[in-house]
């Protein structure tokens, strides 16, 4: 246990602090670090960890989560600013280095606000109390007579005296840090910014004037550039290489072999030959002239079409039971009418607009990194292992990300730069091309899903069996893993909310032969696709309206009892975040209302479809309207999304996440497919891995956010899972064609 000192804060704030600034570092109560806490008592408040106030009144707030278009550099600092009583326009945000003292910094799984909302509130409230006490002491008045009704000032109501935060900073810093019990958190009705559309995104001006700096924009004095020729097949190693021609390219200095990882690959470099040059272009050109022979290894046999056949067969056979209610086999035996369907979804690549890139400078026993990473502490762990240094000697500057979507949760691209820098003893920037990004990914897995239901005369299922077979991302850390992890099953498979008396969910075995990772909303993508498509199929088979049918399946509002089933509920307690079917019902009803479901005449080739899905603790329902033209091309005139994410910090940002999710969903529904043959991914750029352009994206996405005081839930990902099934259900409504595989480009509709 150690005191966190002023000096170390000064380091990471890179000189932003001024003498006399409101930094409580020296007065911190020694305490355990957040990340190492189990279920112990909450750590003491540490305002000095998160903020500083300068004598001129400028408030600096630390953003410790990664900004990748999720708006998190605004949404958490503004919570602190609100409770502090600060004026947001006078707040400067500083990005934290990777450091366990901030707690979790892994920005994926849509849990930033969920996990840190209370911390930010309490920290802001603590700062506010210290400022008020300092002012009250100066004026000789009771603190209870003071407030921050004017942002950035403490006001003594009775006398009208006021003092700015800057004036008070030095004396406030001398106040003891309050305990949680002393804090007066604002009532939601008193929030100035939280829940309102009155503040602008912190980084907006720089994103509009070209000054925003991403990982790819980072430079360091003395830096060299590297382009890496990697093996097409996972696990292959360099047998021989010839760099004679590469070295002739102007600007190319040398080549360096990067050893292939020892399985399991984790976050290690894939391996290959790096071309080192004095600019990006020369490195890219030099790489084209390399001749490399590979030892291919065992994954060379991977063919994704073959995997599809195998996985589809596996899904037809009994697997590992994830959830079991009643007696599915008995109900099937008794039932007259059985419906079965098989669904298939391919590998996908996240394809953020900024490809992976990193700058690492290994010197004096430390590694200094600048990277667009979603997980700076993983960078610390990975580089510490690779370089033989301590994690605390890996200094990770997190830049803005030109998109992440899960790709930048895997640190192989930073590891490459580190290994090269250690060898070359100078800073190295490894730049990935788009082809590298598409071909050397951590892919969304392929999934084969089998569903079977027994339906009664009213069309409702008396039994429901669902089986999902896909390559688990645990293969990243365990080369021999056969079944997916609990978390991947709990993403939309374990928690199907329908009230069905006999219900079994299973998983099946599958081996990974490419790196498997996480793509925005992860396995929810295909789990929602299968469940919500099948539900729609059952509705149509029963000749019932799909919304009415799904609401009937949900049954009476209840908090689902998962007794007897292992269910991680996204790491949240079911007490705080129950699966409340009434909230799912509500968003379905809202999406139905807003879209004019059943009330608008649909002309030829037009149809509407609905899907609803809870993920990352948020309830989302989406209605998609399609128009299928006479060439069979699908246009999307309208999308209506309803979402209940509990307490929301920046409503405009949350709406925009759901708009973005609809476009992201369009790409995977209409176009996205990564395939592999002989172990190698076959796609390479946006010509053969198309993503939605303006002319194919939904024309208009309307998002309704349910107002709620429930605890905050995820917003970055939950818009994705319902989109593809809603679109496919709309295509069925429009054409009578039921398609059971993604993407739609593989099916001729006309």
């Amino acid at each position: 246990m150690k005191l966190i000192e002023n000096v170390s804060r000064r380091d990471f704030l890179e000189g932003a602090l001024v003498t006399g600034a409101f930094v409580l570092g020296a007065r911190l109560i020694p305490g355990p670090l957040w990340a190492s806490e189990g279920e112990a008592a909450p750590a003491p408040l540490q305002p000095g960890l998160w903020m500083a106030i300068a004598p001129d009144g400028a408030v600096t707030i630390v953003a410790h989560r990664t900004e990748m278009g999720n708006g998190i550099r605004t949404s958490l600092p503004i919570v602190l600013a609100d409770e502090l009583g600060a004026d947001w326009t006078r707040v400067k945000v500083e990005q934290a280095l990777g450091d366990p003292k901030y707690g979790d910094q892994e920005t994926d799984t849509s849990h930033s606000v969920r996990d840190f909302f209370d911390v930010m509130r309490q920290t802001g409230a603590a700062g506010r109390l210290m400022l008020i006490r300092a002012a009250a002491a100066q004026w000789g008045v009771p603190p209870a007579e003071c407030d921050t009704s004017e942002p950035h000032f403490v006001l003594h109501r009775r006398s009208g005296r006021k003092a700015g935060f800057g004036e008070l900073a030095e004396s406030a810093a001398k106040q003891p840090v309050p305990s949680r019990e002393e804090l007066k958190l604002k009532l939601p009705s008193a929030w100035r910014y939280i829940g309102k559309d009155n503040h602008h995104l912190y980084d907006l001006p720089d994103m509009v004037n070209g000054k925003a700096r991403y990982g790819i924009d980072q430079t360091v004095a003395g830096m060299v550039y590297a382009a890496v020729e990697r093996p097409a097949v996972l696990g292959a190693s360099v047998k021989s290489h010839d760099d004679k021609e590469a070295l002739k390219v102007a600007g190319v200095k040398q080549t360096v072999v990067i050893d292939t990882f020892k399985p399991p690959h984790g976050h290690q470099p894939m391996g290959g030959v790096a071309v080192i040059a004095d600019n990006t272009w020369a490195a890219f050109q030099g790489r084209k002239k390399l001749q490399v022979e590979w030892d291919n290894g065992s994954h060379v046999g991977y063919n994704s079409e073959q995997f599809r056949k195998t996985a589809t067969e596996t899904a037809r056979k009994p697997g590992q039971v994830i959830r079991n209610i009643g007696d599915v086999e008995g109900a099937f035996a008794k039932s007259g009418k059985i419906l079965e369907a098989e669904y298939y979804t391919p590998h996908l690549a996240q394809a953020p607009m900024e490809p992976p890139v990193a700058v690492v400078d290994v010197r004096d026993g430390k590694a200094f990194c600048w990277a667009p990473t979603q997980d700076p502490q993983q960078v610390q762990k990975t580089l510490a292992d690779l370089l033989g240094i301590k994690p605390e000697d890996v200094v990770v500057h997190v830049t803005l990300l030109g998109g992440g979507f899960g790709r930048k949760s895997f640190q192989d691209f930073v590891a490459e730069a580190a290994v090269l820098s250690q060898k070359l003893q100078k800073p190295v920037k490894v730049v990935w091309s788009r082809e590298d990004d598409i071909r050397f990914g951590y892919y969304h897995p392929c999934a084969a899903m089998y569903l079977k239901a027994a339906v009664g005369p009213d069309g409702k299922p008396s039994a429901w069996l669902q089986r999902s077979v896909f390559q688990g991302s645990a293969s990243t850390s365990d080369a021999d893993v056969l079944y997916p992890g609990q978390d991947e099953m709990d993403d939309g498979w374990t928690d199907v909310p329908f009230n069905i008396p006999n219900h079994r969910a299973e998983s099946g075995q599958a081996r990974a032969n490419v790196r498997i990772g996480w793509l925005r909303s992860v396995t929810n993508v295909f789990h929602a696709f299968a469940v919500q498509s099948f539900t729609d199929e059952l509705a149509h088979a029963a000749k019932k309206d799909p919304i009415q049918y799904q609401l009937a399946l949900l049954g009476a509002d209840r908090k689902i009892d998962f007794a007897g089933t292992k269910y991680q509920n996204y790491g949240a307690s079911l007490d705080l975040y129950p699966y409340d079917t009434g909230r799912l019902r509500r968003v379905i009803e809202i999406a139905g209302e807003k879209s004019g479901w059943g009330k608008r005449p649909m002309g030829k080739g037009r149809g509407m479809g609905i899907a609803a899905h809870r993920s990352f603790l948020t309830y989302a329902a989406t209605v998609v309207e399609v128009e299928v033209d006479n060439r069979g091309q699908v246009h999307i005139p309208n999308v209506w999304s309803a979402a209940d994410a509990g307490t929301v910090v920046s409503p405009d940002n949350v709406r925009y996440q759901f708009v973005g999710a609809a476009v992201f969903g369009t790409s995977l529904a209409l176009f996205g497919e990564i395939t592999a043959n002989n172990g190698a991914v076959q796609q390479g750029n946006f010509n053969d891995y198309p993503i939605a352009r303006m002319n194919r994206a939904p024309r208009h996405v309307d998002v309704h956010i349910v107002e709620s005081e429930a605890p905050p839930a995820g917003v970055g990902e939950p818009g994705v899972p319902p989109f593809a099934p809603a679109l496919y259900n709309a295509v069925f409504a429009a054409t009578g064609k039921r398609v059971r595989e993604l993407p739609l480009s593989k099916t001729k509709l006309v």
């Binding site: 990006t280 900024e354 352009r693």
Partner: protein
């Protein structure tokens, strides 16, 4: 030796004439506002203006720059009406594609003072956005058009 202007400043370049303008701008001129996304004119992140017309700098070798006047996002007036609309409507999410989007939008509005939705689709569909900001891009272009009419 190639002599040209970037954002009004005289520049010379004696390096590899096949180097794309994009990498000259980013690595040599240290103007990193223009971004790399695909390297084959499929994404538009590299869009700059050459004598006022939008080009994809990733596929414009330096030898084709000639004596042109190149304008990058850094050279756009402090608050061009397009940038103002981008701010008011809060267009960016991650922001990476937005320099290219803005440069393409400015070129569109130069040629077409009041574009229809269809005109906007045609002009802007070469610029990819993975975050999905298209509907606000469209709205911002209409707003900027309204303001400069």
């Amino acid at each position: 030796m190639i002599r040209f202007k970037v954002n009004g400043k005289e520049k010379t370049f004696g390096g590899d004439p096949d180097m794309p303008l994009l990498w000259y701008l980013r690595d040599v001129a240290e103007l990193t506002g223009t971004k790399f996304g695909c390297g084959m004119t499929l994404c538009g992140a590299c869009t700059v203006h050459q004598n006022g017309a939008a080009i994809r700098s990733c596929s414009t070798p330096m030898k084709e720059v000639g004596d042109a006047e190149i304008t990058t996002i850094e050279g756009i007036a402090p608050m061009h009406p397009v940038q103002k609309a981008w701010m008011e409507i809060r267009v960016p999410q991650c922001g990476y594609c937005q320099s290219g989007q803005i440069m393409q939008a400015i070129a569109l509005l130069k040629d077409n003072k009041n574009p229809s939705d269809q005109d906007i689709d045609t002009a802007m569909s070469g610029n990819l956005c993975r975050c999905g900001t298209y509907q606000r891009i469209r709205a911002a272009i209409h707003q900027a058009a309204g303001q400069t009419a």
